[in-house]
């Protein structure tokens, strides 16, 4: 269906191209013939002036009637085709009139040259010129005109055609034979060149169509690319939304436990202190205990929310000189109490790095808290914080625990948001730490062996040594 359509379209376009080409050939030939007409006219006048008197009169050189014939007759023959070539180039009528006029020129020149046999060659030249039209009809008409002229003049005025008063009876046939001979050659040429034009047109049409197809294909490709891009963006957006949903679900679930406790505690307190014997109930040791518990659980909720906010809105660090040992001390002091020993092993004389105090304290708190939580309750555990570097090497800060370690399959995912091995926790802590370390242009790595403990190592570029270098 499409192939058939393609063939039709090609043929149609080829025909159009062929017609265009033919028309341009016709017009070009028209122009050439018009020029030829003018040149012939001037040549005929010159010929009449120079040759005719001698040819016809012998000795007396005076303006002969032929001069007038050349000027007037030549003008009459030439003016219409010249006019048509200018006004109506490419028309069939134009080239038919040009053909007739050209043959009349041959007749005139033959007449002016007194029927010289050499002047008859003009007929052959003219036919050759007319063959430029590549139109058999033009050749046919021209041949007819020349035949008619020869035949009529041969009868009434043989001198004018053959230069002698009594030509042989077959003279006309001899001339006609040569004209027909040339015609055959020229017609053959016309047919061949027309065929060639058609072929060229077909090739061009095919080339055009295939380039159009290429263009369409590349447009199609462009559109496909664009669609792909759009759908990819949609996918990224959907993934982001899914991540947000996961985060919300995780945080929501995590909030339920402290909320349940708060609800229970407030219920209990409400019943205890608003009942009929409220005063006596105030001695219940659970009342102050639950009030403290409320406070703790609200803090737990706050911690979950602030973790979420820390994760959602990472702020750029504002570095300032920040001695490490006191910072570690500071971080330890805000941790909840536990039986785990926390050892600050940072040398007191360590050079002072440039850090964002608040962010880095949070990094340390999160890592130390992680270490504390990794230690099973039935074991005497410890978390050690150490640091080195600063003079000419990058900073290395290590937080190591002797807890239960992280399973191998979990180690690779440990910095991913929402990943957690604990039964409670949002899975945001280490993701936040990783983000903050990255914001300090540093790296964080983890080594763990199951049952022996885990070691987090933060490496920070040494700005001071960079500046010194």
């Amino acid at each position: 269906m499409t192939a058939q359509h393609g063939v039709d379209a090609t043929a149609l376009r080829a025909d159009q191209l062929f017609q265009e080409h033919r028309r341009s050939v016709m017009e070009r030939t028209d122009r050439m013939m018009a020029t030829l007409m003018i040149v012939q006219w001037l040549f005929a006048i010159a010929l009449a002036l120079v040759l005719s008197p001698y040819t016809w009169e012998g000795r007396i050189r005076s303006p002969h009637v032929h001069v007038y014939a050349a000027v007037l007759l030549g003008g009459a023959i030439s003016s219409l085709p010249i006019f048509l070539c200018i006004k109506r180039p490419g028309w069939l009528s134009t080239r038919l009139i040009v053909a007739s006029a050209q043959m009349l020129w041959s007749a005139l020149l033959i007449h002016l040259s007194g029927g010289r046999i050499e002047t008859h060659f003009h007929v052959f030249g003219s036919l050759a010129f007319l063959a430029f039209y590549r139109d058999i009809r033009v050749l046919a008409l021209a041949s007819l005109v020349v035949a008619a002229d020869h035949f009529v003049r041969g009868l009434v005025w043989p001198d004018s055609v053959y230069g002698i008063a009594n030509p042989e009876w077959w003279r006309f046939l001899e001339h006609a034979f040569w004209v027909v001979f040339e015609d055959i050659v020229l017609v053959f040429g016309c047919i061949e060149s027309t065929k060639e034009m058609r072929l060229v047109a077909l090739r061009r049409a095919e080339a055009e169509l295939s380039s159009q197809r290429e263009m369409a294909k590349s447009l199609e490709l462009d559109r496909a690319m664009q669609e792909l891009q759009t759908s990819q963006q949609a996918l990224v957006r959907a993934e982001k939304l899914a991540a947000v949903g996961q985060l919300a679900a995780s945080v929501g679930h995590e909030l339920r436990n402290p909320l349940a406790t708060i609800r229970n505690a407030s219920k209990y307190l409400g019943k205890r202190i608003t009942g009929p014997n409220a005063a006596a109930n105030l001695n219940d040791p659970k009342v102050p205990q639950f009030i403290a518990l409320l406070d703790r659980e609200v803090s737990a909720c706050t911690k979950i929310i602030s973790d979420l906010l820390d994760f959602a809105r990472e702020r750029a660090p504002v570095p300032e000189p920040c001695p490490l040992r006191p910072l570690v001390e500071d971080a330890i002091s805000i941790l909840p109490e536990s039986s785990v020993r926390i050892i600050n092993d940072v040398p007191a004389d360590l050079p002072v790095p440039s850090l964002d105090r608040d962010l880095f304290r949070q990094i340390l708190t999160n890592l130390i808290q992680n270490g504390v939580e990794a230690i099973p309750s039935d074991r005497q555990g410890q978390v050690t914080i150490s640091a080195e570097g600063g003079r000419s090497s990058p900073w290395r800060i290590t937080v190591a625990d002797n807890g239960s370690g992280i399973p191998e399959d979990a180690v690779v995912k440990i910095f991913e948001p929402l990943f957690t091995t604990k039964t409670k926790g949002t899975g945001l802590g280490l993701a936040i730490v990783a983000g903050m370390v990255k914001a300090h242009h540093g790296t964080i790595a983890v080594e763990s062996s199951t049952g022996l403990g885990t070691r987090f190592v933060i490496e920070l570029p040494n700005r001071a040594s960079l500046r010194a270098a």
Partner: protein, 256 residues
């Protein structure tokens, strides 16, 4: 009534124990499943209330262990997670109810008192599928009985206290009337209308009367068990709200 509460969240355990003691229950707390099992060996309890997600042994594993040693002991679960395979698994294995955290004390008390009454699931149905369904419910530890007509159903619901009744509204001569009499008998009964084809008129009528859910046949034991657990986990405040669940399509799911 002695209750064993198991939750790894210390402060939640503490406050829940205190509140239930205040409500007059005899409560013992355990912070993990292992110590809960030890306590169960040493003492007798009427009910176990356990968290489902705990480090070490999960609530589901604890429930399975209890099923082996105390097959008739009702177990209620608590969870901070809305949808989880653990929960559905527990429901399909016959947990009495699953309570979502954070819950009201009244909600817990209501579920506890329901469980203490050892309620029965009643199937009002006279087709051949009734018996295998009742057996399937019994297989997961629920008590189920069958009755075939209006009067017998009301009597049965009265005698062995039924808290969930599946009524085939097409079989009984007047389905909506039976739904009405059951709810008049006890408004806390969860009446679930069943029908073999979409019967929008009947379904709408029973929903207006306060049916808990409508269910299209075929009845699958899993869906029945699921609905029973949901019905038993609902707080008292939802009782008179009436229609809570609608079943859409042949294989539609229950939705709030």
């Amino acid at each position: 009534m002695r209750i064993l509460i198991v939750d790894d969240e210390g402060s939640l355990l503490l406050t829940l124990v205190a509140n239930l003691e205040l409500e007059g229950f005899d409560v013992v707390g355990a912070e993990d499943a292992c110590s809960a099992l030890t306590l169960l060996q040493q003492q007798t309890f009427d009910l176990v209330l356990t968290d489902i997600r705990m480090p070490g042994m999960s609530g589901l594993e604890l429930f399975r262990a209890i099923r082996r040693t105390h097959p008739t002991l009702p177990v209620i679960m608590m969870t901070a997670f809305a949808a989880e395979t653990l929960i559905e698994q527990a429901v399909q294995e016959g947990v009495f109810a699953v309570l979502p955290k954070p819950f009201d004390i009244e909600h817990v008390v209501f579920a506890l008192s329901r469980a203490f009454s050892r309620p029965v699931v009643l199937l009002v149905e006279d087709s051949v599928e009734a018996k295998p369904l009742a057996e399937a419910l019994q297989a997961v530890g629920l008590t189920a009985s069958i009755s075939a007509d209006h009067q017998a159903s009301v009597v049965a619901a009265q005698q062995a206290p039924a808290d969930v009744v599946f009524v085939n509204v097409e079989l009984v001569d007047d389905g909506p009337a039976l739904v009405e009499s059951l709810l008049r008998l006890d408004a806390s009964i969860a009446v679930i209308a069943t029908a073999s084809r979409a019967a929008p008129e009947l379904f709408r009528k029973v929903a207006e009367l306060g049916a808990f859910a409508c269910l299209l046949k075929p009845l699958e034991p899993e869906r029945l068990v699921h609905l029973v657990a949901r019905a038993r986990a609902r707080p008292q405040t939802q009782m008179r709200g009436g229609f809570r669940h609608a079943i859409g399509g042949q294989h539609g799911t229950v939705s709030d």
